[in-house]
């Protein structure tokens, strides 16, 4: 082995065997080079793959990004992780949080305009615990979208509240519910059909026109068949207390609906039309109203009018009924005050906006608001149609607007130019039924035929005198005496004296009516009743305050009685006395039997008394007789405080009814304990929720 190119310092040593050089350079390459090349290729391949397959970046904006961590929080679709939050930063003006999510490439094309995103956090509610897995793993972003890709987007606005049950992938129907207010319903509250949960509602939102609250609701698939245009929804929140013939009934729906609210529906009558997704249904305050509404006219067009009241409208509430001849034809939609006039003439007036249901005015199905207002205008002009406040319930003191036809009122017209709605003329409020009743009593007294009575008495006396003067009469003096007795009895006692009794009877019947009211349907809503009992008392006080006016009226009646044709009566009486004297002085009279003589003596005493007193005393005694009538009436009037007291007592007892359910009764204590139980249950749930929120580990550690 020689290597000429490697000179050796020692020539005696054999030359090294060296591989011949100068071959092509790749021949000298070691195969080991394959290793770094493969490694490099693999590394580059992995790098390229992870770059190319890293997915699309989408941006979701949230108001609240609590629980979202960059690099940690996953995005899940149908509970499968399809991406991870890459970055969390703020949008323009720090007004929102932008969450950048790297989404898996094969899913990204489906995330289009239909996509919704929300943050799933652990939630402990009365209906159960949801998102428990997120207690341990932290919040995640959930998304849903349909299975068609139509123009992928990469910027979205996240939902602040999880969408309601159902959605794009669930079969069912989304509808819209309209409520008066949303304070009893929270998102996720159940929709019940005969007690079965068939759907859920979303978060309440204000209607565009500010009138009412709209809630998106979702009814799950098989139950949508139960939904027709004849379906009625009602608020099943809270509990009902009703006092009926069977006693007090407390109806508590499920604990969940008690706290969270709930909406029930039922299809009351058959024959409804199928509904379409997105249809709006009104939610009635209770089941009865909902069921009743089915039978109301199909014409639900309404006519807005306004009514201006001078006095207090305390007790009139939004939603109060508007009645026309006892029928509910509408309701109060708004109450407000406004200032009228200029300078010293300025005054505050109260305006109530009413909503009249045209279908109930008897104009037929297709009536228009124009026809309705024309009809009302005719009624106002011809029949004296006026709006006035009336007590709706004695117990609650609530008011309603009554459209009454008053025969003798000053002519008026509907002010068509009034803003915002045509203004109906009003009449003085018939505010208190007590006052009205008492007034009615005295109207009856007033209407008693006192004048006719007097006239009859005068006539009778005249006739008596004629009779007395008549020789034929002298043969039958007992008839005259009897007549005199009758007259005296008539004037002094019975009928007139019966008046107070009648007042009492009326009072009693009034009390009976109240009793019936108590027994019948007095307290429909205990809470409301308790809350408004004060107002009832206030209203009753107002009623009592009206009594002096009534008393004054009574006095005027008495005066009227006083002012009756006394002189004539006196003159007639004088003549009668004279004639009677002459009669008594006759021998035939002396020959009368003893019994008759007694009667005559009585008459003599009577007449002698009248005579002895002279003209003035006679007049006085005649007046005193008339006055006795007036006194009776006065007595009736003086019994007014008594009446008032009775009514007070009535109120007190009505109050007692309420108080019986209010303070210490067994019913109340039971109700209270029920409520307390519910309260403590709710507290416990809240405490649990708070504990879990503060210390999620407690679930695991058991502390």
């Amino acid at each position: 082995m020689t290597d000429p190119e490697t000179p050796s310092p020692q020539s005696d040593v054999p030359q090294m065997q060296v591989t011949p050089a100068r071959k092509r350079w790749w021949h000298q390459l070691s195969p080991v080079w394959l290793v770094p090349i493969v490694a490099l290729a693999a590394a580059l391949g992995v790098a390229w793959q992870s770059y190319a397959g890293r997915g699309e970046l989408i941006t979701i904006s949230f108001q609240n990004a609590s629980g979202i961590e960059a690099g940690q929080t996953p995005l899940k679709f149908r509970d499968v992780t399809i991406g991870v939050v890459e970055q969390v930063n703020f949008g323009a003006g720090l007004s929102e949080v932008l969450v950048n999510v790297r989404v898996s490439k094969d899913v990204a094309p489906f995330i289009d305009g239909s996509a919704e995103f929300w943050v799933v956090r652990p939630e402990v509610s009365v209906r159960g615990v949801t998102g428990l897995d997120t207690v341990l793993s932290g919040a995640f972003i959930a998304g849903r979208w349909d299975s068609e890709s139509s123009g992928a987007r990469n910027s979205f606005t996240g939902l602040e509240v999880p969408p309601m049950l159902g959605g794009l992938d669930q079969t069912g129907m989304a509808i819209v519910l309209k409520l008066r207010d949303g304070n009893q319903i929270s998102a996720g509250a159940p929709i019940l059909y005969r007690g079965i949960e068939v759907g859920a509602v979303g978060a309440p939102r204000l209607a565009d026109d500010g009138d009412g609250v709209l809630i998106d609701a979702f009814i799950q698939a098989p139950y949508t068949e139960r939904l027709t245009s004849a379906s009625r929804f009602w608020d099943a929140s809270g509990f009902d207390v009703s006092i009926g013939p069977s006693g007090v009934e407390l109806d508590v729906k499920s604990l969940a609906s008690l706290i969270e609210g709930g909406i029930s529906f039922d299809t009351v009558v058959s024959g409804g039309d199928p509904v379409n997704a997105g249809d709006t249904f009104e939610v009635y305050p209770d089941e009865n109203t909902a069921r009743d509404s089915v039978f109301t006219s199909a014409n639900d067009a309404t006519l807005p009018v306004s009514v201006v009241f001078d006095g207090s409208v305390s007790g009139l509430t939004v939603g109060a009924e508007v009645r026309f001849r006892g029928l509910k034809v509408g309701q109060v939609t708004d109450l407000g005050a406004y200032v009228e006039g200029e300078g010293a003439a300025r005054r505050v007036r109260l305006r109530a906006n009413l909503e009249l249901q045209i279908g109930k005015l008897g104009l037929g199905e297709d009536a228009t608001p124009e026809q309705a207002i024309e009809l009302l205008g005719t009624f106002v002009q011809n029949n004296g149609l006026r709006a006035r406040l009336t007590t709706a319930s004695i117990l609650t003191g609530g008011l309603l607007v009554d459209l009454v036809e008053l025969p003798d009122v000053a002519p008026a017209t509907i002010r068509m130019d009034a803003a915002p709605y045509p203004e109906l003329p009003t009449s003085e409020a018939a505010l208190s039924d007590f006052a009205a009743t008492s007034q009615g009593v005295f109207e009856r007294i007033n209407a008693l035929p006192v004048e006719e009575l007097m006239q009859s008495a005068i006539d009778a006396l005249d006739s008596f005198r004629m009779l007395a003067a008549d020789p034929a009469t002298r043969r039958v003096p007992e008839a005259a005496v009897g007549l005199l007795d009758d007259t005296r009895a008539l004037v002094t006692s019975e009928d007139v004296a019966a008046i107070p009794a009648e007042v009492r009877a009326i009072t009693t019947s009034a009390r009976e009516i109240l009793n019936k009211i108590e027994e019948g349907q007095a307290v429909e809503n205990l809470i409301a009743a308790i809350g408004r009992a004060d107002r009832a008392l206030t209203s009753l006080e107002t009623a009592s305050a009206d009594f002096p006016a009534i008393t004054a009226e009574v006095r005027s009646i008495a005066e009227k009685v006083d002012g009756l044709a006394m002189e004539e009566l006196l003159a007639s009486a004088d003549q009668l006395i004279n004639s009677a004297d002459a009669l008594i002085g006759t021998e035939e009279a002396r020959a009368l039997p003893a019994a008759f003589t007694g009667a005559l003596e009585e008459a003599t005493v009577f007449l002698a008394q009248i005579r002895a007193g002279g003209a003035i005393e006679r007049a006085n005694s005649a007046i005193s007789a008339a006055e006795a009538a007036a006194n009776s009436i006065n007595e009736a009037a003086s019994s007014l405080p008594d009446l008032s007291e009775r009514m007070s007592g009535l109120v007190v007892s009505a109050d007692g009814v309420i108080a019986g359910y209010g303070e210490r009764s067994r019913f109340n204590s039971e109700l209270m304990s029920v409520l307390r139980d519910i309260q403590s249950a709710a507290d416990a749930v809240t405490a649990l929720a708070r504990t879990i929120e503060r210390n999620p580990n407690s679930l695991i550690l058991g502390r």
Partner: protein, 206 residues
Amino acid sequence: MTAPQILGAPTPTARSAGLIGCTRCGRVFAPGTELCTRCGAPLSSRDPRALQRVWAWWFAGLVVYFPANIYPMLITRTLTYSGEGTILGGVVELLGHGDYFVAFVIFFASILIPVGKFLAIAFLALSIRNHRFLDEHAQHRLHAVVEFIGRWSMIDVFVVAILASLVRFDAVATINPGIAAISFALSVAFTMLSAQSFDPRQIWDE
């Protein structure tokens, strides 16, 4: 080594004596001998491709060393936490917790030693005939140190392997090796091969 005695003079080598030294047992043979008669190892005076292999393994080690540092070493999943940790990230985290000693150990074993190994091998391969910075003896010692220390770089991989096999409590806590663990193991293996491919006899060649 009796370095002081031969300082200044060229160190006699088997090659310079026209012999072939066995790299395993050190016995010299006459040229042309294929196998060591004492230990049976194949004999060659110099492997002309040794340096190539050194560089090839060196590059392979370097290539996989990058993912070893970029990708996660440990994938930790506990009930409340799911995370991935890179080597350097782990060091920083440990520093943040105040565990300076452990942080230093990891930093030393996982960063300093591999990087130092790369530098040392590259230095040796480049300056194999240039003794300006280190003389032959120092280079030889450096090579011995690199060869010796190579296996200890695997300590990181061992830790990961032990953790991954011990911490397996299903849902409660699980540790899985990440892609960096494999890369790191490969990197260590490649640099060990690179160091082994180095023929220290060439240090002494003129």
